[in-house]
């Protein structure tokens, strides 16, 4: 049996990678992390709309910091031109942590269209991704972060915690 995804495990992966800021807007899949994030040494930067998260992260990176973005897949959809114009055109070494709304696990029909479209859209943007839905799969957070840094290209992890509940 897999261990349910824990906030401390997620934050531990980010701290090990030297992440300095989490730019975020809460969602159903990652909202459980809020209390732990406020206790973390990683600075939390809340935004009003997901499309703000990429430019804030880009500015942080230009200033020498190591941010990640934590938003829901729906907000990722809404952020299209920030992804194109900033994440991709600026070759940002940025980890996008995306709440995988509607994810129901392998072989099952997604609960809504957000889950159907997420992976095809990531493929269309050329953004590599991994599923993180348990503590056992949290190592993908570090791996994806490192991949983003080494390739100067965004990478994503899809946070599918609701599947475990």
């Amino acid at each position: 049996m897999t261990a349910r995804l824990q906030a401390a495990t997620v934050l531990g992966e980010l701290e090990r990678r030297g992440v300095t800021h989490i730019v975020w807007l809460p969602d159903s899949e990652t909202g459980f992390m809020y209390e732990a994030m406020t206790q973390s040494r990683i600075a939390l930067v809340p935004v009003c709309r997901e499309g703000e998260s990429m430019p804030v992260a880009a500015g942080l990176i230009m200033g020498g910091k190591r941010p990640v973005v934590l938003i829901q897949s729906t907000g990722f959809f809404e952020s299209g031109d920030s992804i194109r114009g900033l994440c991709l055109d600026l070759k940002l070494p940025l980890l996008l942590m995306l709440g995988y709304r509607g994810h129901v696990g392998p072989g099952q029909t997604p609960a809504d269209s957000a889950a159907r479209f997420l992976e095809p859209i990531l493929k269309a943007w050329g953004i590599p991704y991994h599923l993180v839905d348990s503590d056992e799969s949290c190592h993908y957070i570090s791996e994806a972060y490192q991949q983003a840094v080494e390739t100067s290209h965004p990478a994503a992890v899809l946070m599918g915690r609701e599947y475990n509940e």
Partner: protein
């Protein structure tokens, strides 16, 4: 005929006061600022993200609290990213000056009026979003007179420059965003600030 001030004259006032600030440019400012800039190597134009200069400037300000950051935003761009006023006010960057070059129009597409033309009050929006200081300037003399106290005042601050629309115009030598990004990143990494 517009009674708003000449935007180029307003930007000249800012340029004369600029020292080593990182300047983040949006839309019409991307066209008008470069010939006036005294430190073009510290200027970056945020293009292709639907009005996100203010958010980018916030990121730089948070990443380098020891460096002063000016965002030269525009009314059309800020309308696309209005929530950033609240985001910035919440983050309280003590080194961020947010200027809005407000010409009531989308000059980059030919001067069509914005939905907020002659209606949206960015000074009031910033104040009510939580900026500790906000200003509006309708003439160059007032801007010149009050700029020293504005620059010494609390942050984040927002200053609206009510300027005349100049219509569509050419890019006047602004570097590509990626080139500026790499250059300023390297500059900041070597101490500066």
């Amino acid at each position: 005929m517009s009674d708003a001030m000449d935007g180029l004259e307003a930007l000249k006032v800012l340029s004369r006061a600029r020292t080593d600030e990182i300047v983040v440019l949006s839309e019409s400012c991307r066209q008008d600022w470069p010939p006036l800039s005294t430190r073009p190597e510290l200027d970056i134009a945020i293009t292709g993200s639907m009005g996100k200069a203010s958010s980018f400037g916030l990121g730089v300000a948070l990443g380098r609290p020891d460096v002063r950051v000016w965002v030269l935003d525009t009314d059309g761009a800020l309308l696309m990213n209005l929530g950033s006023l609240v985001t910035i006010a919440r983050a309280k960057p003590a080194n961020l000056l947010h200027v809005v070059y407000d010409n009531d129009a989308y000059d980059t597409t030919g001067g069509q009026p914005t939905p907020g033309s002659r209606m949206a009050d960015f000074r009031a929006l910033a104040r009510d979003a939580g900026y500790p200081a906000s200003y509006r300037f309708d003439d160059v003399a007032a801007l010149e007179r009050e700029l020293p106290s504005l620059l010494a005042g609390p942050r984040p601050a927002l200053a609206v420059l009510k300027v005349a629309s100049r219509g569509r115009r050419a890019n006047m030598g602004m570097k590509r965003m990626y080139e500026s990004f790499v250059q300023i990143k390297a500059y900041l990494a070597t101490d500066n600030g």
